[in-house]
Symmetry: C2
Subunit: 618 residues, 2 copies
Amino acid sequence: MRTSIATVSLSGSLTEKLTAASRAGFDGVEIFENDLLASPLTPEEIRARCADLGLSIDLYQPMRDIEAVPVEEFARNLRRARHKFELMRRLGADTVLVCSSVHPLAVDDDALAADHLRQLADSAEEFGIRVAYEALAWGRHVNTYGHAWRIVEAADHPALGTCLDSFHILSRGSDPKGVADIPGEKIFYLQLADAPLLAMDVLQWSRHYRCFPGQGGFDVAGLVRNVLDTGYDGPLSLEVFNDVFRQAEAGPTAVDAHRSLLVLQETVGVATPPAPVVPTGVAFAELVTPDAEPVAAVLGALGFARTARHRTKPVDLWRQGEARILVNTSGAARRTGTGLAAIGLESPDPAGAARRAEALLAPVLPRRRAAEDAPLDAVAAPDGTELFFCATDRPELPDWRDDFADDTGVSHGTEGTRGSHGTGGFHGTGGSHGTGVHRIDHLALTQPWHHFDEAALFHRSVLGLHAQESVDVADPYGLMRSRAVTNADGSVRIALGVGAAPTDDTVHAQHIALATSDVVAAARRFREAGGRLLPIPANYYDDLAARHEFADGELETYRDLGILYDRDAHGEFRHCYTMTVGRVFFELVQRDGYRGYGAQNAPVRLAAQHTARAVIGG
Amino acid sequence: MRTSIATVSLSGSLTEKLTAASRAGFDGVEIFENDLLASPLTPEEIRARCADLGLSIDLYQPMRDIEAVPVEEFARNLRRARHKFELMRRLGADTVLVCSSVHPLAVDDDALAADHLRQLADSAEEFGIRVAYEALAWGRHVNTYGHAWRIVEAADHPALGTCLDSFHILSRGSDPKGVADIPGEKIFYLQLADAPLLAMDVLQWSRHYRCFPGQGGFDVAGLVRNVLDTGYDGPLSLEVFNDVFRQAEAGPTAVDAHRSLLVLQETVGVATPPAPVVPTGVAFAELVTPDAEPVAAVLGALGFARTARHRTKPVDLWRQGEARILVNTSGAARRTGTGLAAIGLESPDPAGAARRAEALLAPVLPRRRAAEDAPLDAVAAPDGTELFFCATDRPELPDWRDDFADDTGVSHGTEGTRGSHGTGGFHGTGGSHGTGVHRIDHLALTQPWHHFDEAALFHRSVLGLHAQESVDVADPYGLMRSRAVTNADGSVRIALGVGAAPTDDTVHAQHIALATSDVVAAARRFREAGGRLLPIPANYYDDLAARHEFADGELETYRDLGILYDRDAHGEFRHCYTMTVGRVFFELVQRDGYRGYGAQNAPVRLAAQHTARAVIGG
């Protein structure tokens, strides 16, 4: 189906908005009047610009407070409307949106409203223009789509139809099944927006909190199905008022917007992009760093062994159990400092996963970083993290470790066949004591502030992961949000986090959480090997003692090591943190059935990290 | 009365919060449990720190889900409570807050609730602690203060009283008069917060949008009067959960917070700071600039004449009618670029105005900037703008212009006695054509993002100005807010503005609006004198033609000059803008009864300024 977006959904000048919409793949735009008024381009120039960009102008909007007003007011409205029809002729737009009146003098008289709209449609018809009448959720007398349709039906004019808007329909809890009563050819336009389920004034909700389909709590797809069943064949058009999008760069927002429509079309069955290939595990996490020593010291103390090196690049492979971490000291890290740059996702079909990602507008990375490298399928996530779709120990597929060799020059692709999950059998530098880490439990990634909601949609739609509820976490210097995306068995868990505000200078560091079956033993060995654990305030343990009962000495052990504790309906959780290196730290977690991420403990951890930074002056 | 503040109201570590509260003049604090848990200080160290800072610990909070729960749950609660009472003993805190239960298993049984609270109070009493029971607005069964009091009354225990919280009472629309039924000695604590009147879920409203008394829409003072009438003599304590305050520096927030309590005490008649001295006009606006030439060029073209120079400093006085602008090229401007640094407010009693400001915690500036200067009373506004309280042409008071001399060395304090409001009689550089500017209409100041609401309270309480409604203005790159403060006759108008987010890089420039009785003539003369007006898009005028009827040629004139038009119930408004110099631009306004500030036109103006910057590469 054709896709369109209202210019009000994007940030910047009209030119910037049009360019972004075109590049993201939209077929058309709705021109929001204020964007036109503020533009130095004439209507003819805007028309030409859209044509150059391959965009149709599907709607001009909005006209307000037209109908059911006093006679002299309506005369002024008709006069104003003719000006706008003339403008639309210059613009080459053939449909205008009329919102149901909120005028204080508007009367509750459907016959009068129908008469006024009929007169308006008469005037529009002279210009070859169609009028799409829409019920605002806060319209003075007309605020449901059924009511708007009854007035359109009564007016009975070929140039008059209705516009349906998912926000106005679903925010009021109207049943979308009633759409079946409207003939498809009388639905002149369909505007789509989702929204988080907030209990608030519907006008404020609409003006500030709309989001793209799939990012909120509405069943937008259900409504679209109802509309398509009528035979509607106009565009699927996004109209999203959102304070965050107003500030965000138009380019990425437009891409996120178009992706949401692609997913929506897949959901309702009118498009069939390549099916999602859900990752089945984490093959590796890749750190970039300008200086391998501090990272190597922590990994060594954590019991990782450096088992292999990339054949052509300064990338080391560290391993413990099934947890694999690449340490990359190539040039890029000099600019960005130590950080988490890439994730290897174990994929049943790497090429298929990449095709899915590409179809959903994820930037595809070159399959070979260098001529001599094995080909690897990879895309960039919205936060810039590189996602590699790869295979480990699967004979039918190339192994990503083929590019790595151990000190004897033996390809590392054979590693897994040795059948060992310990580290003792490997050669390499670093600790050989082991801390019982058997795999990566989860990865925590900081998201760009303006694109947090899109990040969850990306991981959900592109990777086929399940997005959990978003939780607020109190940092001493602001409120942060966190949302996890996981696969069904929890073998892939990514916690997406975002700071309180664009300037949040409380660095929300990325981290790698390592699963161990005995966090106390792991923490002890880490410390014995010279590792530094994040100290946790004593007051935290006094509170734990007040909340739970522990075995003798248990709490003292936790206090000594800085181990935090939580429980949920499914089990217990014990975890501790290393000090931060650059922007990254590590967490050791013992997850005995527990399904969360220790959000309850995050404020204490964040405060402790602030304290640690203040102490070391970082 | 004693003043207190909950640590949750301020940003930072517990130490930072305590220091900020003490410096701002609070007598005590409520310690929020999470702040204690996250602190590396022991309870004894916190107690000592508070003592050093002259702060009492008035409340420890909160205990949750204590009462009316199943028996084994209540046993755990009592056990936990004893841990907390022991902690409070170490802390030296003698009152604990218990919030009404939101536990899913809590039952609607007042007798059971009373019994549980009585048992809790028994336990507390052993530690010399009092329990203050408070109805949360979203409490499962107990959500009104009257209900909480009935339970406290039924429990009838000397260590059990109630805590009143203005948010929980006023957000539910409860009538505060019922407070009279509670004996003052059974009100153990009074927490105060205001909030904007939002129609939203009360829990979200409370957790994210509370503000200090006087900043929102609640009648907090009315409630406080009711509480004081009972004989309550505990502290007035602020408990404000606010996403913005969480991010703001604790120091300024604490000062704003304490000011709100000082004003509240004045309002309810328990404190009598010096009375407000409302300014009666704008004596001058002072620009600082590293380079006087560009500013002089604009002022000259605007018809201002440079009429005098400061005797000892590089400050020129420019004048036209009663509009006076100082141009200061001293060192400070080299760092900050061209900007609006100070406002001279015509004051009936400059010394009294300064005393008021000082009593309300405004930083007082040295009365003499240099030994040889005349003394001037001045304070700093929250945004750093210096506010001078001064007199012009009032024989009984020293004239601020005594420090200025014209080219002949004659003191400029005599200027007004010449009886001329034109510029022709003055010597000096700059345009002598005049543009009919007769005074400064208003000044627009950008506020620090985290302190926008406080800025309005400052201008209202310190200067005695009236704060108008806040309006949202759509900038192409974000949503901005603007709020005007004025005196009764409109001779002092200050528009306080703030960008969409802390990082808003769409510079919200400051501006000086100059009143003229003929904006067309003024704009023409400005342009003839070489001034550059901000070009306004042609589309804007097409829209004006659609909305209003104009005399022949009128619209063409506006279009030619870039004059914008608006009207309200009181009259018409015509205005235009100069190009920006540094962070400042000028507006010429013709206000024929109109009372607003052209907010309707602000999006077009902002877009035009973005376009102009893009063109000149600024």
